[in-house]
């Protein structure tokens, strides 16, 4: 696939060329929206929206990583979706304090508040990871998904979510630590190499 040529054609309004790019990137984009939104239907909708807005604004792509550029539309679509949810709130999934910052320690999830039944539901590692991702504030989740799941560079992430590099670094470190702490509750699911001998660090 000659990506630059396809992009050029898409920029000239060639929908077929753009659709070939869609086919190439749709899994990556869907996984991003899925990990941020944690809902297959919403994730699919957001991915579709992302591609639609990507086509409409394809002329704003000025070189660089096309994947990172697409990620930006994908995270934007996720934020739009989350804003829509906030306007029409369903059952809250995350404990939020008044200032919409997630309650600091997610220990309640890992140790005490989960019933054995709930734990059984999350008996697969993937569910556990997704569960802990959901426990993160949206901005932290987006950073960690883009960095550790999609393998984006710091500068690409900074461009994708329009946030300074320093903030990206700080959010990523905090998100990783929190995830580690949260995953401690799913000890038995973790592969042996990940199991810790000690308690989670105290910071």
């Amino acid at each position: 696939m000659d990506e630059p040529a396809l992009i050029r054609n898409a920029q000239n309004g060639d929908l077929d060329a753009f659709n070939r790019l869609v086919l190439a990137y749709q899994d990556i984009i869907y996984n991003t929206t899925l990990r941020i939104l944690n809902d297959p239907d919403q994730a699919a909708d957001a991915a579709q929206e992302a591609f639609i807005s990507a086509f409409r604004s394809i002329n704003s792509y000025r070189g660089g990583s096309f994947k990172a550029w697409l990620m930006r539309t994908a995270t934007n679509a996720c934020y739009d979706e989350l804003r829509r949810q906030k306007r029409r709130p369903t059952v809250p999934l995350e404990p939020m304090s008044d200032d919409e910052e997630e309650i600091e320690a997610p220990r309640w999830l890992a140790d005490t508040s989960m019933s054995p039944a709930e734990k059984a539901e999350a008996d697969e590692l993937e569910h556990a990871i997704q569960h802990c991702l959901n426990a993160l504030p949206t901005d932290f989740r987006a950073v960690v998904v883009l960095a550790d799941i999609q393998g984006l560079d710091y500068t690409e992430i900074a461009a994708a979510i329009r946030t300074p590099l320093g903030t990206i670094k700080s959010r990523l470190a905090r998100a990783r630590l929190r995830l580690r702490e949260c995953l401690q509750g799913f000890w038995e699911l973790l592969p042996a190499s990940f199991r810790l001998e000690s308690e989670s660090p105290t910071l």
């Binding site: 409409r56 990783r176 630590l177 660090p201």
Partner: protein, 438 residues
Amino acid sequence: MTTTFHDAELLSAYLDGKLSPAEISRIESRLKTDPELRLVIEDLRQARAILRQLPQRRAPRNFTLTPKMAGIKPPLPRIFPIFQFASAISAILLIFTFAFNLSAPIAATMQAAAPMYTAGKGGGSDIGPAAAPSDLMGAGAAAPTLESQRNIAAPTAAAESAPATTEMSITADALPTELPAPQPAPQIIHLPVSPQVQYLLLGLAALLGAAAFLVRAQTERNWFKSHAVQPTGLDKNQMLLLLAGIMLALGLAAGVYWLANTTFYAPAPLQPLTFPGGDKGGPAASGDKNTSNAGIFTLSPDMGYNYSYADNAGYIIAIDFPAGTFETATEVAFYAPPPDQPASISLPDGYLFAGRIFQVTPLPQLLPVLTPYTITIYYSDADVASIADESSLLLLVDGQDAAGTCPTVSIYERFPEPNMLRVNVCATGSFTLAAPAK
């Protein structure tokens, strides 16, 4: 040494290879000596590694875009906007002219609702206004009457100086000469824009609109075919829009047809009147008692009208016109010459003249009476002092009984007690009350 969050940030960046060489050597030397820092970096590394374990999911469907999603529309031929624009212009012009045509009768009616009207000051003192209205009237059938009016304008003015000495002879053919100058008849309002032009505009709008629609439909069909996309057809909004357009076109067509086939009359604005030999001028208003001995009022075929005149002696003449008295809209002049003017009337043997003579004459031309109208006379005791009013008759000047003018002979309603007589008549001209001598 305690671990800070800044340390965790540095370690996280260190794992991602985002530190400068100086930072790397510094953090590596600290890691060697600080077991707590080693725990933190282990946590970070594990979190990072676990996240990378997360399986990649396949997209549940293809997210390829349809032309509609992409907001791409088939390129329309250059003729399309021309058709569209021309159709819109025609439609706008049509609506505009329709509103313009519709406003003409409304404006005329509103203008006539507040007539400018000045009472004539003394009979014939000003000939100008008396002659002027006749100029406003159409030619043709009205011409002879107009001629006679113009001819009498000057003599009437001359007569004003000595009205009492003027011999007045009322005969049927002399009638118009004694009447005040008529006001203009109700005028047919001509629509400012001809219906033909409107039909043309409507046709243009519909044809061009249809052409634009077909051109677009054809272009889209071809384009969808060449792009291997399933045509979407008309969506709900487009259907509604199309339906609304058709309804609007039909509504406008009906409106134009209605306007074209309806005759609108503008009630003529009342002109200042002067009456020859009259005491006070003024138009008659329906239901009002007029003290002027002359008046002109307009009868429209679909409306009734009543006119009454009362003189100082208590003699009242009330005339009730039902709807349809005359076939067309017309002016009707009423004139009751002053009682001191001698009149020659042929009366049946043994009958005596009572009360006053009065004329009821349609203008400008004499029209046949299609529906009987009612004349009611209230006279005073003095009028019938020497006659038997229980046998009184309403006579035309030639001596004909007014009750016999209708196909069915009318029945007199006589009420000698309140001094009243009522009869339906089917003739116009000069009337007078007469009764046999006691």
